[in-house]
């Protein structure tokens, strides 16, 4: 596993060059006795649009959730930009124990040494040290500096990427049933999408520094650009919940773009749309690839969209990959036809 390799970010021009953006190896996800995803491989070259299709219950969304860091895989790995991103967690229960260890050790030592007999001072001091150590370890655990992660890895504790780690790596996503921040405005939704791009910290907020002010202004401007890109210009102050359905999907897309992802995971982006809206959305996705160099991984049911826009298609059925190839190849693949239409009567 190439843990420490850094990959230089490609410019949009280079996006068309061959380079593997994401590689999923034998991803498997079990829920108790049910195997939702079994040994699925997937490769996403830079600058491509890949679709995942399959009958309902084929495991598409579960697979997405593994890549997005929402579910841990039971087996298999996902590499992104050459670095390991997702793998099966190991020994994670060890970590919380490690947090309490220093404080508990101090308490135990104090008992052994006989601090209680030293009266108030002894106990007070012990308590203070213990609490101090606890707070320190908690803060370290929260901040997760590289040396801490190396320490964990050395102890055999492997933690898979969380959703916000995945975003930080450069992957954005939308959801099958739209998950906007309903009671925040359109602009605020996109601003949250840009959360990791903004650098001002707590102190900046409190003193309302110059840096914070300029950053916010730039952020608003960039957010408006994104909104204009998806066709939601001038709707800044509307509540997300009041938007018509099609606009909500566009907003979710704009929000997902906020962190300038290299890869977009779109879960059924045209679900519930009429033909005209579907065509608009498809054109929008193509435009995103062309103008922003974003690669796209798509779950879709609408075959016109899939066939029209995909570079390659992966077909899942019953949790397994049953076909992979260009739209032409997949369309003619007998197993795919059988999965969708059933076996022809003998």
């Amino acid at each position: 596993m190439t843990a420490e390799m850094t990959v230089v970010e490609p410019t949009p021009a280079e996006a068309a060059a061959t380079g593997i953006l994401l590689r999923a190896n034998r991803v498997t996800r079990r829920f108790g006795g049910l195997v939702a995803v079994r040994d699925v491989d997937l490769v996403i070259p830079q600058g491509s649009i890949i679709s995942i299709i399959g009958p309902n219950g084929a495991g598409k969304t579960t697979f997405f959730n593994v890549i997005a860091g929402i579910t841990d895989p039971t087996a298999g790995t996902v590499e992104f930009r050459g670095r390991a991103l997702i793998s099966r967690p190991r020994r994670t229960w060890l970590e919380p124990i490690g947090w309490f260890l220093p404080a508990l050790t101090v308490l135990a030592l104090a008992l052994v040494v006989g601090a209680p007999s030293a009266g108030q001072v002894g106990i007070g001091l012990t308590g203070l040290i213990a609490i101090g150590l606890l707070v320190t370890t908690l803060v370290i655990a929260i901040v997760r500096p590289p040396w801490y992660q190396r320490l964990l890895a050395g102890a055999g504790i492997i933690r898979s990427a969380r959703p916000n780690d995945v975003v930080m790596a450069g992957i954005g996503r939308t959801f099958q049933n739209i998950r906007l921040f309903q009671n925040m405005t359109v602009l605020e939704n996109v601003l949250v999408g840009m959360h990791l791009q903004l650098r001002s910290n707590l102190v900046d907020h409190l003193v309302s520094s110059r840096r914070q002010a300029t950053e916010e202004k730039d952020a608003v401007k960039r957010a408006r650009d994104l909104l204009a890109l998806v066709g939601l210009k001038g709707r800044d102050d509307e509540l997300a919940r009041n938007l018509p359905y099609g606009d909500q999907r566009r907003l979710e897309l704009a929000r997902a773009l906020g962190n300038t992802p290299a890869l977009l995971l779109l879960d059924e982006p045209t679900a519930g749309m009429n033909p005209r809206e579907t065509a608009d959305m498809t054109a929008l996705i193509a435009r995103l690839r062309r103008d922003l160099g974003v690669s796209v991984l798509l779950i879709e049911h609408d075959m016109r969209v899939v066939m029209g826009i995909s570079d390659r298609i992966t077909v899942l059925d019953g949790g397994e990959r049953i076909a992979e190839g260009t739209p032409e190849e997949v369309r003619r693949n007998p197993r795919v036809i059988e999965a969708y239409l059933g076996k022809p009567p003998e």
Binding site: F31, G32, G69, I70, T71, D72, W93, P96, R162, P163
Partner: protein, 340 residues
Amino acid sequence: MATTAVTTARAPFERVSRRSTPYVFVVGLALAVFALIGPAQFINALTIGAIYALVALGYTMVYGIIELINFAHGDVFMVGAFVSMFTLTTILGDGSFSLGVGPTVALIIVAFAGTMAVMGVLGVLIERFAYRPLRNAPRLAPLITAIGVSFILQNAVQIVYGPSPINTPQLIPPTARIEIGSISIGLINVFVIGSSVGLMVALRLFVNRTRLGRAMRATAQDREAAQLMGVDINRTIALTFFIGSALAGAAGVVQGFYFGNIQFNLGFQAGLKAFTAAVLGGIGNITGAALGGFVIGFVEVTAAAFGLFVWGQALVFAVLIITLIFRPSGLLGQQLGERA
């Protein structure tokens, strides 16, 4: 069948050990406690645990069906204790307890039936007017309402009866004992444990064997599907509240009998502990709530036996936190793998 026996040759042991680990744990804990505090206190722990178990059942059933922690449930328990006390003192007047066995038994039945019925109705009313309108509201709303109801109940009782403890008639004399060979157990303990276990068994039978019980389980698993199958959701939820509150009422009756006094803030502390018991056993799991209740009883009485009663409360709470952090599904629940 033959093939499954062969292919799962290794599995049965695994499955058996995984399923019985929690029970082994509880039994082991019981033995340890018995050794630590002696038989008399052990019986005491079982008794107190039985009361907690009865209250925990209500928490776990309600959470299982509408995913709401009914903050007011502990206070329903308290009101039950007061209702029982009220009923008995009204019937008995100021009088003494020179009643024969027959009238005593009758009185006990009246106390139980009356209190359980009244508490059941109270639970249904609370659900109907305070929780049902908010079933689709953001999560915070029914939680806050539940707290409000809890405060209403507590303060209403405090206003009527004052803040000091009130004596309750102990129909079963605390000094009466049952002798079995060389073992002597308090009659009241046998009564409390027996009636609690009896009620729990009855509940288990009801949930597993009757049509209404099946409706409750279905609604807890998947409300929409149950509705599509023709289950009347509102009635089922109301029934759940009725049963849970009735059980809490029974616990209130028993509390009064065992301790001899009750106080308006009884529900607050007991509620917290009973809820811990429900979580410990696996929220939504009825057997788990019963087990959890006994474990909490063990913890509390053991701490008290060592003179650390107040820290016992903190300890129970620590149990809650540890359970929620390390094994959120409780003793009898399944491990979930999701982060969502």
